[in-house]
Symmetry: C3
Subunit: 349 residues, 3 copies
């Protein structure tokens, strides 16, 4: 994975794209918006993006992302237009040079160029196809829009990254723990009936590494994250004076933890083979679920999950209903960090 060159652009796609200082600056803006810090008045905030519009384009479902981008634009004085590809909007082809005699009606190149004539930026959600990791790792939809659009592209979760989630997560940790440096975080795989994308674990891994946390990544053998992602996380962690360790049993990582971040993801080893993956994890179901007894072994740790989560499958309902749960704060912070990202991307457009 090459060093990204995106930080000079207004696109926001990768969780390792912004430096620690740039990320902190975004969080400072998000805090100011959340807690009404600074000189700006409530009314002035409502005019920051006046006359600006955002296209919010979903290739896949969403609740938090859908609501927060719309609301963020509205509360800053702008306007959003939400589009669901394949439902109401034409199906979009992303492969370059393809002969379009199949199912898709519109090419990404036209969609990107046309939308750029109308709006000031686009937030795009496109999950992986789930057949080949080599293909999905190229993130063709989000990168295609970034290549062909002439306005800023903000990822609302792609195959590789969920950068706004990563920002909301690190803001939640920083806000609840009053700092992040060397704080122990357990990022743990959880059992789930489906083979889910890796964007969320990649992003929280990268942000917690970037912020110098004591990162404890736990997953069963076979559920390793991508090697390039791991290498990049270790690099950022070292630069920030933190650490990244991998555990094959999340229970071994709980002692002293201040954060337990649970999330399921699919196995790269069995990528594109859901039945094989399901069989390989059949025995893991009872063990890899966060329960109250796990939270009680932490150092007053907070429970985190990007949501949606399956109650009593990834995590016990008891944990979600307890004071350990910080997932609603996480969800709320999506609104605040996305406002900061939108101001960075759209204000000068």
């Amino acid at each position: 994975m090459e060093e990204p060159e995106l930080s000079t652009l207004k696109h926001f796609i990768a969780s390792d794209q912004l430096s620690l200082d740039e990320t902190r600056a975004l969080l400072d803006e998000a805090y100011a918006l959340k807690y009404n810090k600074g000189l700006i008045t409530e009314w002035a905030k409502r005019t920051l993006l006046i006359g600006k519009s955002l296209g919010v384009i979903f290739f896949d479902p969403s609740l938090r992302t859908r609501v927060t981008f719309d609301l963020a634009m509205q509360q800053l004085g702008g306007h959003s237009i939400v589009l669901d590809v394949g439902k109401g909007v034409w199906k979009i082809e992303h492969r370059e040079k393809v002969v379009m005699d199949g199912d898709a009606t519109e090419h990404l190149i036209e969609a990107a160029k046309v939308m750029s004539r109308y709006i000031n930026g686009m937030a795009i959600r496109a999950f992986p196809e789930g057949k080949s990791w080599a293909d999905d790792k190229l993130d063709p939809i989000i990168n295609g829009f970034a290549k062909y659009a002439t306005v800023p592209i903000i990822s609302a979760e792609s195959s590789v990254w969920h950068p706004c989630q990563g920002l909301a997560d690190i803001m939640t940790i920083d806000d609840r723990l009053k700092g992040t440096k060397k704080e122990p975080i357990v990022i743990t795989w959880a059992w789930h009936p489906k083979a889910l994308p890796m964007a969320v674990p990649n992003s929280i891994l990268m942000e917690s590494a970037k912020f110098g946390m004591d990162v404890r990544l736990a997953h069963p053998p076979g559920w390793e994250l991508d090697d390039d992602i791991m290498a990049r996380a270790r690099e950022l962690s070292a630069a920030a004076g933190g650490s990244v360790r991998v555990y094959d049993n999340f229970e071994d990582a709980l002692s002293g933890a201040r954060v337990v971040y649970a999330k399921s993801w699919g196995s790269l080893k069995n990528y594109g083979k859901p039945e094989v993956e399901a069989a390989a994890k059949a025995d893991l179901r009872d063990h890899w679920r966060v329960r109250m007894r796990h939270m009680e072994r932490t150092d007053k740790g907070i429970f985190m999950h990007c949501l949606p989560t399956r109650r009593n499958v990834e995590v016990d309902g008891d944990v979600l209903d307890s004071p350990f749960n910080a997932a609603y704060d996480e969800a709320e912070n999506r609104l605040h960090v996305q406002k900061a990202v939108l101001l960075r991307s759209l204000r000068a457009e």
Copy 2:
């Protein structure tokens, strides 16, 4: 059915929740908004809900509800975000304590708590499941949101009630008849190919009883409304000096009627058995449809229906196209009463 304790809350869920006086106060506000009464100017109205946002969450389709909630917020200076569950938004599980290894991705508890972080209120439409009346009568989705949300919940039709429709209906009657007291209203079942929900007849029954009308409920034997609903209607009717009588032939109820309110609903006796229900009503099709000759037997009565209606099935097209038809007024009044409800629920939030 216990006495509801909702009137002190800002939720708006049940048609028997508000007293006659409270309901009249809402109608007064709706009249003021509709006819520009009072001191408030057109421009001032546009700022009443400035900075407020409403989530409008559909588990089922809608035309009037979808347009009027959006427009009401917009015209009062606020903003709405419309979400279609299962289309674009994750499928939602409402059963408590369930192990979520099935189809649904998100639990109602998370949806309610997360949405409460973003917006100032929610309007929710959730039709009955249609399998067990005992289950549907508990109205698990609307009551689940009311339980777990920390912002006001407004029903946009649930299994048991369609309270905004009931308000629009009684406003239409009051406006067209210049009063409601002891006015004869025929609420009649109509034939329809499907077994439809009872929320609309429950709500118009309750409001007309509450307002002291001479209520004539007509349906074939076997299509009785829920016993608790009937008892509550008789109680409110008695308190208001009105009456509630049941007819097994709507033609017997027409004489002197000022309102004919037609609506189909399913049989509680055959609840969850659509084929049995369909067979039981096969012979009723020709008879239970409102025609011009019926309207002509009333005392210059108005024809009402919540819409959508099936032309030449529930009611003849002739009636809908005649001056008897007040259904478009009813539909319009949805906008005005919902503005009043939104002001009541959201203004102080």
Copy 3:
């Protein structure tokens, strides 16, 4: 086809409805909005439609139409409500006097009358049913709304016309060529796997004829446009001092062309028989596609297409990626002409 009498109404449905002068006046308004001409300030523009709302009703998918109507209302100070019929909104029946015991839940009459109570105008997209051209030519949905609504109806593409596309097209030509009079335009059929509607070729044919262009309509034998459309185009063309000629090979029409407008459409001869149509055009695939060598034979012509287009099927990707391509301008101009149409239709409502 009778002379339309729509120009005194505020509906905007047919591409031959407005006279040349009326069309020019709309384009002048669109230019003023696009290039900020005239005395009106950026801020004043944002208040032109304040308090107005537009229903945007889709019976079929859309990208450009969906975004531009919403954005146009928003940028002029108004509000739009986008509805997808059959997805989230009830399925609508348009046949008059039908007994509605089938699939559709709501009749167009009720939808039109109820929506007229809420909003100030409606933009409606309804593609042809594709079974009988005699039926589709009557354009029952758009004309049904125009008949029953009491607010202006704007076509967002019907069976017969795509009038806003036609306006955007002629604006693009006029803007790029600095005039239209006697300029040669090739309107050419292109091969496509499906039998597509004729609304777009009808509209560009009519506008280019109305503006006195040297119109060269090219299609294989069997893909003639409707006789009444052709007769009306010749009539408008004659009045404007232009010409309309038909070619059975688009390559013969390229010499000196300033515009190549490519678009596929279905064969009237085999209307409603997609398999027969597909077989009849199997041999045409290689020939009827616009390539760079075709554009190079024009007089620095621009390539136009309404979009979406299938790359390497209707037109080579090379052409779309070249400076010949004016399709993104066309798409952008949809926004500007629709603002002009909305101002014409809604301002006084």
